[in-house]
C-alpha cells in the first residue's frame, strides 16, 4: 500500500509539491482515496528528527501536527482542526510524503470483527461506564 502510494507520487518533485499543497488548502479537490486515511485510521506526528522537508509545511499542516502529538483518529483530527475531511486527507498525504506524520496500523484489520473478548469488554463498559 505504501509502495503504491509512493509510486503514484514519483512525478511530484520539489517544484510541484507546493502547487499541490496550495491546491489542497484552498479546496482539497485532489483528494486521496478514503482507503489511505479512513475516519478511524490513527495518525501521529513523527518525531522532529524523522521529518524531511518540514520547512515547506504550511500553517494548515502545522495545525494538524499540533493536534496529532498523540495518536489520534482522522475523524477526531478533522473535528479538532476544523477543516473539511477532504482537505485533511490531502494535507495528511502531504505530511506522509514529508515523513512528518505516521499512519498507524489498525488494531483490527479493516472489515474484520474484533475479537470476542474485546466486544464483551465493550458491552461491559457501555453498561457500567
Amino acid at each position: 500500500m505504501r509502495a503504491d502510494h509512493d509510486d503514484a507520487h514519483q512525478w511530484l518533485d520539489a517544484d510541484a509539491g507546493p502547487l499541490v499543497r496550495a491546491y489542497a488548502v484552498t479546496g482539497g479537490r485532489a483528494r486521496p482515496g478514503a482507503g489511505l486515511f479512513d475516519l478511524v485510521t490513527y495518525v501521529v506526528a513523527a518525531p522532529a528528527g524523522q521529518r524531511r522537508n518540514a520547512v515547506h509545511l504550511q500553517p494548515e499542516h502545522r495545525a494538524l501536527l499540533e493536534h496529532a502529538r498523540e495518536p489520534i483518529s482522522v475523524a477526531e483530527l478533522t473535528s479538532r482542526a476544523g477543516f473539511a475531511l477532504g482537505v485533511v486527507r490531502v494535507l495528511l498525504a502531504d505530511l506522509l510524503d514529508e515523513g512528518a506524520v505516521i499512519r498507524m496500523a489498525p488494531a483490527v484489520a479493516p472489515g474484520h470483527v474484533p475479537d470476542d473478548d474485546i466486544l464483551q469488554a465493550v458491552i461491559l463498559g457501555l453498561r457500567h461506564a
Binding site: P47, V122, L126
Partner: protein
C-alpha cells in the same frame, strides 16, 4: 524520543446511527458519547443542484456537510466511534465511505414516520451491514408495539427491534449493546451467549 511506530492503537469500532430526518440521530449520538462536529466537503453535481436551490449558478458547487460524530472510550483497549449519517437523500454517497469497515448500524425509527427508515434499512440490508432498529419513544405516545414495527418494516426475523429513548444515556447505550450482541450472534452462531446471561 519515543518510538511512535512501536505504539499500539486501541481497537477502533465504527458504528453508524441512521434514520429519517428528525428521528433522533443527533440526540442519540450526543447523549451516549462525547460529541464533535465533523465537516466533510463535497461537490454537488448538476444532478443535485435542483434540490439545493442553486438555480442559475454553474453546474458544480462545493458544499460542506456536517455530520454528527461521537466517541466512547472503553478502557485502554477500545474506542467506539459513532457517526450520524447525513439525513438528506442527496448526501447518500457519503454513506459508502461511512459504511466501509463499520461494525454495524443503529436505525432509529420514529413511529409517526416509519417509512422514513426504509431507505436506511434497505441500504444496510444490501451492504450486509449488521443493524438493529431502535424505535425512539421520545414523544411518549408509543403508537406501535414491537411486532407491529417489525411487520411494518418487513424485517428479517433475526434483526433486533428495541424501544429506546434517544435522550437517555443508559437507554441509548443499551441500544449499542443490542447491536454488539447482534454482531456477536452473527459471528459466533450457536456458541453465542449474551454478556451477563447465566451460563
Amino acid at each position: 524520543m519515543r518510538d511512535d511506530r512501536a505504539r499500539s492503537v486501541p481497537t477502533a469500532i465504527k458504528i453508524l446511527v441512521a434514520g429519517g430526518f428528525g428521528a433522533g440521530k443527533t440526540t442519540m449520538v450526543g447523549t451516549v458519547s462525547e460529541i464533535l462536529p465533523l465537516h466533510t466537503e463535497e461537490v454537488l453535481t448538476s444532478a443535485s443542484t435542483h434540490s439545493d436551490d442553486l438555480s442559475g449558478v454553474e453546474a458544480k458547487r462545493t458544499t460542506t456537510v456536517t455530520m454528527d460524530f461521537g466517541r466512547i472510550t472503553i478502557g485502554d483497549s477500545a474506542v467506539l466511534y459513532l457517526f450520524g449519517t447525513p439525513g438528506q437523500d442527496r448526501f447518500w454517497f457519503l454513506w459508502d465511505e461511512l459504511a466501509i469497515g463499520a461494525l454495524g448500524a443503529v436505525v432509529l425509527a420514529d413511529t409517526r414516520r416509519l417509512a422514513d427508515s426504509f431507505p436506511s434499512i434497505d441500504y444496510f440490508e444490501r451492504r450486509r451491514v449488521p443493524f438493529v432498529v431502535a424505535v425512539n419513544c421520545f414523544h411518549g405516545n408509543q403508537q406501535f408495539e414491537i411486532p407491529a414495527v417489525r411487520n411494518a418494516l418487513s424485517l428479517d426475523p433475526d434483526v433486533p427491534v428495541v424501544l429506546c429513548d434517544a435522550r437517555d444515556r443508559r437507554s441509548g447505550r443499551e441500544v449499542l449493546v443490542t447491536l454488539i450482541e447482534h454482531v456477536r450472534a452473527l459471528t459466533l452462531g450457536q456458541a453465542h451467549t449474551a454478556v451477563g446471561t447465566p451460563g
